[in-house]
């Protein structure tokens, strides 16, 4: 078997309780790499279009990459994927922790589920042997409880992904979590898992991931880490800053620089949120107990807090919030209270709710409340006002449990706006149903051939609202990185990651990989994710892009004064570069044949 891969994929039918192993052809791995590359290919081939995302025909995949669990620094990730109940199209979400490597050590590159179990179950894979077990005692438990109970039940060395009550209750913004907070957050995949009555997947194993050239892989590892340590970032090294703060080191400055959206995308940081000190890196780590990291990661950018001793009594071990959470529950809600953001983070991690969507939905609800569309009578007496951290935390818990007004908000802003009515949709900032990540596209991605077409990617990526995937040729390398199981922090800080990406793939797999081949695989992956959506009847050009996202009209003051993101030019240019039709977004027949997607070409161009 080619190095890096275990050579086995597990397919589990939850309706029948039966599972089978498959040994894929090497071409699946070489052409689609891993992660959502393999996932898109499998779902497109084996699942027809138009299935109910919460029904038995939807397939949930948990997929690693060839560099997951290898000497490659930051080779720690896995991808969850399915048809998204939030957007109705392709859904994927990426997480770290230890689960990805341990799924491989248990013998599998990936596991796919279809069907729906009659009663709650969990899957236990123990060194290759897969068994569905009763999860009746776990159903209704939160993620912390689930992880504790399964570890007690199954013994040492087990790694677990699970859903909490939010996923069980089919919240469209629920997520899949491992290690008490490494979240596969986006796309509402917690609800897919909940719809299948699949509570958890536990894995354990001691199988080795074959490495074609260990000596080369380990040498590259030393060189890669040494080079990462030299990268300067804002007065210190990237390595030192991220080890110390994770992504939370600059959220206060981002609130004022125009990067983080403010006040539900309608504010200006320096005017509406002048004191952002509660979001500073030092404030966020003031209660830090220890630093830790994903499997064998040299950066180890995670933080765990001591127990909250003030107003917010989150338990010891709660994860230090990351930048996206600080944005969603902080800047978006005009909330400068550090401890409340830690508490909201804990609630989301405990119940299994995506912090980006949850915070964004609360910001929407605050704006509705401030404008009289909803009142205390609607919100169970909670005064949803800007910066009211107690209200924000209280509503986060109600959303997580689908209680009272939280039930209205638990499916994100699009559904909440439909339920509230009275013109609430004007405050619902989403694309295709998904709330946006905390990076204002007006700040970056300038010009159609910019490094990252920042506005266009939110609209045009197969999972709308994401800032981590991309659109156009500039996204191809990133798609490879994601599919390979790498954390983006191992690649993007480097001036030239080509040497390491191609080097590690070659050393691990034994293939002679060039960066061009890997980027071509990334292009192939981008096309597969996109054609999945086309088959669902989605044309991303028809997604509504809220004017606040692109600055229409532009803000008059602040860092983004006068800026309107030229999303139209970004879309137009990149569609041309992709050779996708500029009206239908269909990839050309020529492009599909060039990528070896002959059968897709026959379907789209009969």
């Amino acid at each position: 078997m080619t190095g890096g891969y275990m050579g086995k994929i597990l397919f589990v039918n939850l309706s029948t309780g039966k599972s089978r192993k498959e040994t894929p052809e090497e071409s699946l791995y070489r052409d689609f790499i891993g992660g959502y590359g393999i996932g898109a290919q499998i779902l497109y081939r084996r699942q027809k279009g138009g299935v109910d995302a919460l029904g038995p025909e939807n397939t949930l995949g948990l997929v690693t990459g060839p560099l997951t669990g290898t000497p490659t620094p930051m080779g720690t990730r896995y991808t969850a994927l399915a048809k998204s109940p939030l957007t109705g199209g392709w859904g994927d979400a990426n997480a770290g922790g230890d689960f990805g490597p341990h799924l491989k050590f248990a013998g599998y590159d990936a596991v796919f589920f279809n069907g729906i179990a009659e009663k709650p179950v969990y899957l236990f894979i123990d060194n290759g042997k897969a068994e569905l077990r009763d999860a009746g005692h776990l159903w209704g438990k939160d993620i912390y409880e689930t992880e504790d109970m399964l570890q007690a039940e199954l013994g040492k060395g087990v790694d677990i992904v699970s859903i909490g009550q939010s996923g069980e209750k089919l919240s469209l913004i629920s997520c899949i979590i491992t290690r008490r907070g490494a979240a596969a957050g986006r796309s509402g995949l917690g609800a897919v898992m909940g719809s299948k009555k699949l509570k958890a997947v536990a894995v354990r194993g001691n199988r080795k991931v074959a490495i074609a050239n260990s000596e080369l892989a380990n040498r590259l590892r030393r060189e890669h880490i040494a080079e990462l340590r030299t990268v300067e970032f804002e007065g210190e090294t990237f390595f030192d800053q991220f080890h110390k703060y994770g992504t939370s080191g600059m959220a206060d400055r981002s609130a004022h620089s125009g990067d983080t959206p403010v006040k539900n995308w309608g504010g200006i940081g320096v005017i509406d949120f002048p004191d952002a000190s509660g979001l500073s890196g030092d404030a966020t780590i003031a209660n830090l107990e220890r630093r830790t990291g994903c499997w064998h990661c040299p950066l180890s950018c995670e933080g765990r807090l001591k127990g909250g001793i003030g107003e917010y009594k989150y338990p010891a071990g709660t994860r230090r919030p990351e930048y996206e959470t600080q944005g969603a529950f902080g800047t978006m809600c005009l909330n400068n209270n550090t401890e409340s953001i830690a508490m909201a983070n804990y609630i989301c991690n405990r119940y299994g709710l995506d912090t980006i969507s949850a915070g964004g939905t609360i910001a929407f609800a605050i704006e509705c409340y401030e404008n009289g569309l909803i009142t205390r009578k609607d919100t169970d007496g909670i005064e949803l006002t800007w910066g009211n951290h107690r209200a924000i935390v209280a509503m986060a818990e109600k959303m997580a449990r689908r209680e009272g007004f939280g039930d209205i908000l638990a499916d994100g802003v699009k559904v909440a706006a439909e339920k509230i009515g009275r013109g609430a949709e004007k405050y619902a900032i989403h694309i295709g149903g998904q709330e946006l990540g905390m990076h204002d596209p007006k700040l970056s991605g300038h010009g159609p051939d910019a490094d990252q077409p920042a506005a266009a990617r939110f609209q045009m990526d197969a999972t709308p609202g994401r800032h981590t995937q991309g659109f156009g040729p500039s996204s191809f390398r990133g798609h490879f990185v994601n599919a390979a199981g790498l954390c983006i922090f191992g690649a993007f800080p480097l001036k030239n990651s080509s040497k390491y990406l191609a080097g590690f793939m070659s050393a691990v797999t034994g293939w002679e990989c060039s960066i061009e081949e890997l980027e071509k695989a990334g292009e192939r992956i981008a096309n597969m994710r996109h054609v999945f959506n086309l088959r669902e009847g989605i044309n991303p050009l028809k997604w509504r892009v809220h004017p606040r996202i692109i600055g229409d009209p532009p803000q008059k003051k602040g860092p983004l004064a006068g800026v309107r993101a030229d999303i139209e030019a970004q879309v137009y240019w990149n569609l041309g570069a992709l050779d996708w039709d500029r009206e239908t977004t269909k990839p050309s027949r020529k492009k599909l044949l060039e990528l070896g997607l002959d059968d897709v070409a026959e379907e789209l161009w009969p």
Partner: protein, 93 residues
């Protein structure tokens, strides 16, 4: 004479706590001239927002001039009345 008020956003307090700084430039001055003037006014910008020894910004900063972003075009000519913002591009995750 070009009179320019440069607003600054996202800069760390150890560089400056100022939110804006006024600079005077000769007619026909370029963005490079503006950067040189900023360096003289706020020496701590050098090495952080401004490349050491060069009249260019570092990779993590940009100018918003009249609603358009400029990163590395030090030859860009400025006009009196231009609205200039210096801001941080880098962030977390």
């Amino acid at each position: 004479m070009i009179r320019c008020v440069v607003e600054m956003f996202g800069l760390p307090p150890e560089i400056t706590e100022l939110r804006e700084v006024g600079v005077e430039l000769k007619d026909g001055a370029s963005l490079g001239d503006l950067i040189a003037a900023l360096r003289r006014k706020i020496p701590a910008l050098e090495g952080r927002a401004i490349r050491a020894g060069e009249d260019r910004l570092t990779q993590y900063y940009a100018f918003n001039i009249n609603g358009r972003f400029h990163f590395d075009d030090s030859e860009l000519q400025l006009q009196d009345g231009d609205r200039v913002v210096l801001l941080l591009l880098a962030s977390g995750g």
